[in-house]
Subunit: 397 residues, 2 copies
Amino acid sequence: MAIRVPKGYRVAGVHTGVKRDARKQDLALVVSDRNAAAAGVYTQNLVYAAPVALDRERTPSDRIRVVVANSGNANACTGQRGLEDARTMARLAAEAVGAEADQALVLSTGIIGVYLPLDLIAKGIEAAAALLSSDEDALIPAARGMLTTDTVHKLAGRTATIGGREIQITGMAKGAAMMGPNMATMLAVIYTDAPLDKQTVDRSLKAAVQDTFNCISVDGHMSTNDTVLLLANGAAGGPPLQGADLAAFDRVLDEVCVDLARSIPADGEGATHLITLEITGCADRDSALQIAKTVANSPLVKTAITGADPNWGRIVSAAGYANVPFDPAGVTLHVNGFMLYRAGAPVEFDAKVVSDSIRQNRDTLIELDFSEGSGRTRFWTTDLTTEYVRLNADYHT
Amino acid sequence: MAIRVPKGYRVAGVHTGVKRDARKQDLALVVSDRNAAAAGVYTQNLVYAAPVALDRERTPSDRIRVVVANSGNANACTGQRGLEDARTMARLAAEAVGAEADQALVLSTGIIGVYLPLDLIAKGIEAAAALLSSDEDALIPAARGMLTTDTVHKLAGRTATIGGREIQITGMAKGAAMMGPNMATMLAVIYTDAPLDKQTVDRSLKAAVQDTFNCISVDGHMSTNDTVLLLANGAAGGPPLQGADLAAFDRVLDEVCVDLARSIPADGEGATHLITLEITGCADRDSALQIAKTVANSPLVKTAITGADPNWGRIVSAAGYANVPFDPAGVTLHVNGFMLYRAGAPVEFDAKVVSDSIRQNRDTLIELDFSEGSGRTRFWTTDLTTEYVRLNADYHT
């Protein structure tokens, strides 16, 4: 598991002043020295921010050169002027690296309903451009440039030999954390030196996001700015990946996305547990996902895990109101490997042993099996703590 | 607003010992001295408790004589034996008041996955039958008999003159509170001396529940036991209500249901605010309800109100992910009468004044208007506090 800057890329992260704390980076650049194929997956929220509108317009593309990300201001709910600001921010980033204005993509996260401080952003882009580096030491400041109140930076990467070429896939993300009047924005940029055409980048990203970034939640609140980007610049050489080589690439991409996606609820606000849900035996994958989301977003399930309580009733009954038909007599539940419920009824178990297992591990595994078919999904979420409430109720005091 | 025992009914509430605290009632009877038309509305959860199965089988009916409710044990996830226990409990209640075994309905709430202590229930039914009274002093112990960790009993009633007759509608409810490994069960029994045939009772109850009990949430978790019953015994005299008289009855029934339904989130666990959502201007009522539920169940919206934060971004963006199409440029938001957002963009407002208004009032009004049509709904929920998390994470310590 090597986290390096892929060939043909340089990155940087700087402090511009949008965030007050001068020790915190708040702007990042990811630059490709040649045209990269690029695709994006965006928030489904009807209320979406200006950077989402801009990137949607520009992807998929086969000529992206730079991604500029800022934190501290989300450029959301800022109307026509917000759109112009996003366009200006993209143009400044493109100019700083010698690209054309429309070869840049933009990510923003932070407070909403406030215009972007373009003067600070402009200075920041200039400063970052001067620091661009292909050294792996540059990865952390760049990753930090897109954080809000995340407690750790989120990086993942893999090196793989595919079709005789060494391919690097590297990604950075920001998680579901709040800052000022903000939503729990999820951002990720994944960039690779693999040769891929733009249709393939688009297809591979959508497939990877489906089972990773779309399978996490902290509080179920979908942001105005959620964006995942994938760039592929082909600097590893050779013709575009196809067939078995492409399948191998997709598997590695999936691993990088799993690492990044998991890291978001793992760093959930005030969270004391990362909960993995394995939902199996459903009629189809959509049914499994719907049940996973309903269980994951139940405050009663979350608080049960917070309290190390093997509360099968809350878990099974949450599945029961997911609006997915199933036979209640076919439900089996394991928590951390212990069977709590089988064939529609609770079984005897040592509550203290299961409770200790929940209390003593940061990871909790909930396996819920149905007897409807072979549809399945994996989903990650957090518990719900008094600290989460404190952070989100009292953030401005 | 008179809360009296309607003509032809007697009620009682006693302590049986299912709950340990001897000062707490845990069993209630509502008895009609003649056959009553009765209908029920039940949980949509696929995992439903034995009393729900029994009552579903028996309603609508034109010959119900008694409702027996217990708290402390929900008789849920108890399989075939649970069903037999519910049937036995119904039979005991029927026998105690001289009715036939199938003339009783049953409500249970409390811990799940544990068999009903039938010996205690039997003694309790006997004791309650001896105390049955039509005096209004009996209403409170009866209402208390179905509570779990509710902090107050929930009673509502109206006296109305309809078609020259004095009609009384009285109801009791229990709210969304947790006790042991339980879900947030909602129970309500509404009983009237109005003359109504069973089809009308069924139709009137379903219509009333639609805009009241189905428009509340505390944490969005639907229980295995949720039940609302309506009994009408005709003791007020005269032929079954029809036409304008029936419409007048339905309006009064709706008022009683609003009082009871609101009282549930108003007593939500750890809640410091009762939030009323008025959603207007939607394509239809279902769209409005879907948006209302999504906003009401957003932990970010709830915690914003906890923190007296006029956070329009969280509210508008929650609406944006409700899976209901709308024009974001047509959205207007008021909180406690203050306009925060108009035609798709935030407006200037005095944040301190709005914040003070939220902090100083237990009731918060969120009005969200769209420009899609005339669909509307009203919905009640609570904020989310550290106390809620503490209660639900640490209940067993």
